[in-house]
């Protein structure tokens, strides 16, 4: 019987150890930069993206070690994006994961630089994770895909659309497009990259692309729902801020009940996409369900 709770804890701990090695403590004049990077990187969090990368690798029969560099890289990129999003010139948030945000501790300049360094070092960690198990063309393709997902065509582009959409009425399609870039792209790169490094076939990649699109969107729908339904205490960050900022959300467009139904239907889409994968994909399936059923 697969124990998701235990699986998530084990994997989060494995990822934590790998991140500790990827961004080590240093002494001397560089100490403060690595402190600032580690403050946000090692602050807990669910580690969903790296865990998905490893689970996708497993789901096609790969050894998770092949995807550990990618797992660290996607978490480092996710962390950089949070640090920069929280800056006063962006969302100006004071709390994240229940702790003061990076710039509240280290100042705006250092927070900007800590984000820059995490983003840049992510590619180093990935490129240096080459091993005999992974053909080099797969590594180069994974690097290209990750940078595309994180850059102007992906996450950053999505963040720009998000800022420009404040107080604008978005259609459901426009909202989906926004989140396909802002949060979806990195989920896709995590899952597809993990699978590719694990030796996925072309057919498996097609199935996992559909899986990744569905879970990425589901994650965001649930995030919007939680912003309405949950409390700051539970989430460890400011809630009900979407409404305050005049941001388009799935609950605002569809209503809460319909948003819950949409998230569940996306989970079914995700499950169908990898129905033929057998037992090896059980973690992926259960993580997808967890992403929809989570309460924080």
């Amino acid at each position: 019987m697969f124990d998701l709770d235990r699986y998530l804890k084990d994997r989060a701990a494995t990822v934590e150890r790998a991140l500790e090695r990827a961004v080590p403590e240093v002494s001397g004049p560089d100490a403060r930069l690595s402190d600032a990077m580690r403050y946000s990187l090692l602050s807990g969090g669910k580690r969903l993206r790296p865990i998905l990368a490893l689970a996708a690798c497993e789901s096609v029969g790969g050894a998770i070690e092949s995807a550990m560099g990618l797992a660290c890289a996607v978490e480092m990129i996710h962390t950089y994006s949070l640090i920069h999003d929280d800056l006063p010139c962006m969302d100006n948030d004071d709390f994240r994961h229940g702790r003061p945000t990076n710039h509240k501790i280290y100042g705006d300049a250092m927070a900007t630089l800590a984000g820059d360094a995490l983003l840049t070092d992510a590619f180093k960690v990935l490129a240096r994770s080459v091993s005999e198990a992974v053909p080099l063309e797969l590594m180069v393709a994974t690097i290209a895909e990750l940078s595309e997902a994180a850059g102007s065509a992906g996450m950053v582009g999505g963040q720009v659309i998000d800022i420009q959409s404040e107080n604008q009425k978005l259609s459901l399609d426009e909202l989906k497009h926004l989140h396909s870039k802002k949060t979806g792209a990195l989920f896709r790169a995590s899952i597809l990259g993990g699978a590719r490094l694990g030796g996925a076939s072309a057919a498996e990649m097609v199935s996992l692309e559909a899986f990744a699109r569905a879970v990425g969107l589901a994650f965001q729908v649930v995030d919007d729902i939680l912003d309405v339904e949950s409390t700051t205490e539970k989430m460890g960050k400011r809630t009900q801020k979407d409404d305050a900022l005049g941001k388009a959300t799935f609950p605002a467009l569809l209503g809460l009940e319909e948003s819950h139904a949409f998230a569940r239907s996306l989970m079914h889409t995700a499950h169908s996409a990898i129905a033929g994968f057998g037992d090896r994909a059980e973690p992926l399936r259960q993580i997808a369900a967890f992403m929809v059923e989570r309460k924080s």
Copy 2:
């Protein structure tokens, strides 16, 4: 007879065309991001780093096309670093290359994101520039080297030391260490990456490493000299600001005359390092001389 002036103009034009393709104009909701990226990326400038990458490639008998992706990537990374350095929370500069800085035109949030996107997209442009001419292990090594040079161990780390050193007395060795990271690392990655992609031998890489260290440091010494000797008009950016910010500089530590002599001696070191390279390295030699003799 080698005509450096013409060479630099031709190469700058070639790089400009490649950058135009690397960061194309787009329409729709992403237009403003690409506008902001292109505003700073395509604002002229000497294109020294990409030209060095191409010249290093040539100097070992490579075709410059092999290093064109790297050339774009290093210029994109250089540009991102300028955009972020100019932000109000960092150096708070209003002018760069004689034009308003990115955040003066697009606002702090968009400037932060334009920088993030240029940095991220740089790795995409590099990773997508694979060709049959370049073995994949050289591409992966070049990506790893570039991200290391730009990240916490390189440029970003140097910028942090620079900020922390304001109003501090630095020794000559500390100042060299700062600049070895802040500006030197990207020069080294440009030159070594270009050479590697051009098929350099191990011995050639050793010589070019010595060359790159010397020209990178010489560039900074001359930059410090120009900050004292030149005018805002000539430089297209604020001058005499090192002194105002209480920054350690080579002229402040060594005096102006001694700084000039130090720059010249570094140029000789650079020339000696590649003395055995023959005619193919003539562009590299003359660029090194230009970097020391430039007036802006």
